[in-house]
Symmetry: C2
Subunit: 427 residues, 2 copies
């Protein structure tokens, strides 16, 4: 099995080499053709499936170490690969290959009165550093999205999945080689030493253009504190569903249930339900029955506790907790103003939904709130690049610089202006 081969003292040298090779690969990729990138992704998808036994062996080794360390069952499940998961990973890479190619797209074009024709043309960002946690499939997903968008990538996964990621990475590189693209276009940091992350964040300004952290609150906080290059941050999702008094009861029930319980472990899962006091009598029991029947624990404020003895008492901490579990906090509010105020105070700017039939209230919710995704009469679990029609995604960005919401291939690009003249000089 592969293991952490880099000694601490050698990290600077190793990382500088990775950076230099990534920069050279980025220049080559920026000049590569759509067909070359398409072929490399197709080849990588095939290799991933062909070498599945090798990937599963590496994963078994990671799983043994993780079990020995006593990792939680949810962590073990994120780490685990089986044949169907490897197949899904291979198909995911194939799907990225089939996406529209963003590189070279003319996203805008206009004519100036002096005859200059100005085009805005999409170009890759350059070199992207991606720091993620235990899911080994991110190695394939993120590698594929960066390649599709013409970027070189430096991957740094969690230490638990090091062997799995190394095996997957090897398949991606084989795909690159088969298409004649530089193998350095997708590099993986060959050590689990945490100092390598520190150096990636703060020592490689000339070779890394942007860092994308994908993981829990501690990871993101460290990256935002230490990074000396731009960061496209993916914060946690403290997502809200607000049920207005005009809501249709069965829509409210179905959407709240889906937003909370379809999958509790994703960032688009609802964590807090806000409900108008005015409709507690008419709407609450239907919603609560559905949640409780599905196995959800409810933690409510005083009004909700008073209305329903199946509800636990919520404390202040609950309003800013991302449970990622079958638990929901519930607060009764006086109306949309109070709902907006609560979300502005406790939300993470990720995704919020309003259930209402009154259009003015919906428009106020959309206008006054500033989260990446706002939905009307739809589940927060639609917060997903695939559901948005963007294909695969790196994650949901919660910052406002560069990209916001689902980060797919298009969001991994910048642009340049191409101006065609006939001899114009500026007066």
């Amino acid at each position: 099995m592969a293991s952490a081969v880099v000694k601490n003292s050698e990290i600077t040298e190793v990382m500088d080499g990775i950076g230099r090779r990534a920069r050279a690969a980025a220049t080559a990729l920026a000049r590569s053709t759509e067909t070359e990138r398409y072929d490399a992704l197709g080849a990588a998808a095939a290799v991933l499936f062909a070498r599945r036994d090798e990937i599963l062996d590496a994963n078994a080794s990671d799983m043994r170490s993780a079990e020995k360390k006593g990792l939680a069952a949810s962590m073990l499940d994120r780490l685990l690969l089986d044949e169907s998961r490897v197949k899904a990973m291979s198909e995911g890479v194939r799907q990225v290959a089939e996406l529209d190619d963003p590189v070279g797209e003319v996203s805008d074009e206009w004519l100036r009165p002096n005859g200059l024709v100005i085009q805005r043309v999409r170009v890759p960002l350059g070199v992207i550093g991606i720091i993620y946690e235990s899911r080994p499939n991110v190695t394939a997903d993120a590698g594929a999205l960066c390649l599709k968008s013409g970027n070189a990538v430096i991957l740094r996964g969690g230490s638990e999945s090091f062997n799995s990621s190394t095996a997957i990475h090897s398949c991606m590189v084989q795909g690159l080689a088969q298409a004649g693209l530089p193998e350095d276009a997708i590099q993986m940091i060959p050590t689990t030493d945490r100092d390598a992350v520190g150096y990636l964040l703060s020592g490689m300004q000339s070779t890394v253009d942007v860092i994308i952290p994908r993981g829990g609150r501690n990871l993101i906080a460290r990256v935002q504190a230490d990074a000396r290059v731009p960061v496209i941050g993916h914060l946690e999702g403290i997502c809200h569903v607000y049920v207005h008094e005009s809501a249709d009861v069965s829509k409210a029930r179905d959407i709240v249930l889906n937003a909370k319980m379809r999958r509790t472990g994703i960032c688009g899962a609802a964590e807090t339900l806000l409900i108008d006091e005015a409709c507690m009598a008419t709407h609450w029991k239907t919603i609560a029955d559905a949640l409780i029947e599905a196995g959800c624990e409810i933690r409510g404020d005083e009004t909700v506790c008073a209305a329903d003895n199946r509800v636990q008492k919520a404390d202040e901490q609950d309003w800013s907790t991302e449970y990622l579990d079958a638990i929901i906090s519930v607060r009764a509010v006086a109306g949309v103003d109070e709902a907006i105020s609560h979300i502005s105070t406790y939300g993470s700017g990720h995704t919020e939904a309003i259930i209402a039939e009154d259009q003015d209230t919906v428009e106020q919710f959309f206008h006054d709130l500033d989260s990446a995704i706002l939905l009307h009469n739809a589940s927060t679990q639609f917060a997903d690049g695939g559901e948005f029609g963007m294909g695969a995604e790196i994650g949901i960005a919660t910052g406002k610089i560069h990209a916001r919401g689902p980060v797919g291939a298009e969001q991994l690009t910048s642009y340049k202006y191409v101006v065609r003249g006939t001899g114009q000089t500026r007066p």
Copy 2:
């Protein structure tokens, strides 16, 4: 006259207060109407002209201090205001008012197969910190652009222009007040203490969303090293004009002359001319005669020096120097590949022009180079938001994250997704 009123020990407290008030103003601005922002800008434009004597008095005070300190003539000229410059500043604010309002614009909209309608809607970034140098008019320009785009701004100008900027800032605030918008929407740091910049860069992550530095290499380098919030960087412009052997001689002469000499002090001025060896005999003398007649000093490589005894010898340093003066460096190259290689090595990613009649060469230049702006048969001095039809600009961004090229009101926005459903849940 106003002066630096904040004691060093109080900076943290003062800056935290500025940040809190900016955040509150940003929330109010995000919910303000287009008409309110339009009215505030119109009022500010009128106030700037009405209070011109006060601004000119403050500027006279700054000029006296600057002369006493022995500032260079070019610096003094940047600092100087007169009635016509104040009038131009007022008209500039009026022009920003008349721009299309970017806030709330639906930049994209699509329907998903499940019936969800997804809109991408422009929203302000939030709170912008702008750090600039001696030109006092930036106080009005940057304040106006941030207000137009619904952002609160914290301005920090150069110490030489402190009194001028304070007087201009006071007029902008009066405009806000007259339109009923929060006066804290445009704040100016009330001290020239450099520690305030340090705190703005690294201590205000919760109240500042992005920093835009506008100035010389040292300022930008400090900001990029110290900032703990995203930076939209404006590096120097080492702009190139490449004359291909297929170039029309008179176009080459006119464009090189304009790119270098129209105004030598702006970032879009050409600093280096690359010319095909193959057309030295046919093109050089025409171009060189025009430059020399206009008073330009020429520093050339060996080939150019050998061809023309009016040329000084360039050294290695010349290729990476932004002269901002009537000096141009010239290198003879073997063809477009060598031109691209030279620009990739020495350029700053700002603006490059190719003069050529051969279309394939032009397309290679456009494809292989990755600068913010690439032009064919047109002057590099078109690198300007106004010339692009974007109205006023903060500057030309040379990074690739968020905004690239001219940064106008639209580039000072982010977006949110607004999703309209009819009860959809995710399968």
